[in-house]
Symmetry: C2
Subunit: 224 residues, 2 copies
Amino acid sequence: MTKLELTGRKAQGERTRKAILETAVHIASAEGLEGLTIGRLALELSMSKSGLFAHFGSKEELQVATVEAARAIFIREVIKPAFEATQGLLRLWKLCDIWLAYVQSGVFRGGCFFAAVAAEFDSRPGAVRDRIAEIMKEWLATLRNAIIEAQDAGHLNKDIDATQLAFEFNSLELGANWAFQLYSDPRAFKRAREAILERLSRYATTAGGPLLSASKTRTSRARG
Amino acid sequence: MTKLELTGRKAQGERTRKAILETAVHIASAEGLEGLTIGRLALELSMSKSGLFAHFGSKEELQVATVEAARAIFIREVIKPAFEATQGLLRLWKLCDIWLAYVQSGVFRGGCFFAAVAAEFDSRPGAVRDRIAEIMKEWLATLRNAIIEAQDAGHLNKDIDATQLAFEFNSLELGANWAFQLYSDPRAFKRAREAILERLSRYATTAGGPLLSASKTRTSRARG
DNA sequence: TGGTAAAACGAACGTTCGTGCTATATACTC
DNA sequence: GAGTATATAGCACGAACGTTCGTTTTACCA
């Protein structure tokens, strides 16, 4: 019930907090969670530093909240759409394809939020780093699960190592993000897709193959 | 001649500069080029901020010099050792294997220097970003060249796309670096090696195959 | 309409940042 | 040993950082 009420004394604060975090995610994806300064954030939102600060209590809390907000966006924009596909090879492919499309779309100036902040915090112990590591592990586990489900559905060869393949797909996605951010070259996404599809089709059973080629043309049409 | 003289009025300054940059590379690999502050650097080297600052003139120049120093280390520790191998499949494998071993060795607290600073500066235009992009392009070109040489030597199938394969290898290396920095899991290197070797052996001709298996056992023995 | 709690503000705190300016210490040349 | 260029130090600056404080505005409820 408390989640649904849009008015009330506490409602305005909640709305402001949401607006702050939305801007925070955008800034942080480009300038990092440390480059995300409270003054800069306040300026962008036309509010006072102190008024903004009161919503969080410390910079670290702001950073953690920003990470959490980015996770919600990621789930909404990538995970959920991919999970509309039926479990199996198609969903696995959708997870990768939508991830790449989302990064390429340029919704965030800095590309993948988590790739950016993971590199920033991987040598900086604390609550922020811990949460980032958890969330990226979630993502890796989601990939791995999708692989196993595709195996269980009979779409994918059963004797491939799901952890290994998830690692490879994740690496290719990170590689595409890296190349696009540094060279603005959209061919990086094509290369990542090609590499992923090559593996999928090589490991696909006769039952899984058709699923894949159907998805491939559909995606191309949507992008072209 | 000027390069060889180790004494002279200008010599001391050169030596200090070198010492500064060596420390700078270590700090920057972990805390980033922006987290690399002049005060912190001076403290670590037991010298004054202004005395240190005089060697560079601006923070940006210090950052560029640090990037240059990291490049020199990378060439000395990865490129040169790999180029001792004969041109062809072996050298290609060495480039990847030594890169992974170097990151795994933990010489830098923050893992691959360039992976770290590329993520930090990819949305920050300027001389630093430009130099980082150039150097990483050099690395990608080195990989691509090694692939083409392996093809020319008859070790590798001629109809594979060298640019595509270089992208995939680079991605797997970045992925291993990412996983190791975030989870301290050395299995990430094993996974990257496995993925690279799988591709190499699949694309290897009958002439190239033996080269690879010889190198594989040699590396395993060296690491065990 | 008056009371009240939440929300936002403005000003200031102590630090640290990069960057000047000026002076001193060092080491080489003549 | 005097002269000189180089290398380092000391000190101060303006700006920005995260954070705290007391106050004012806003919006709901009785």
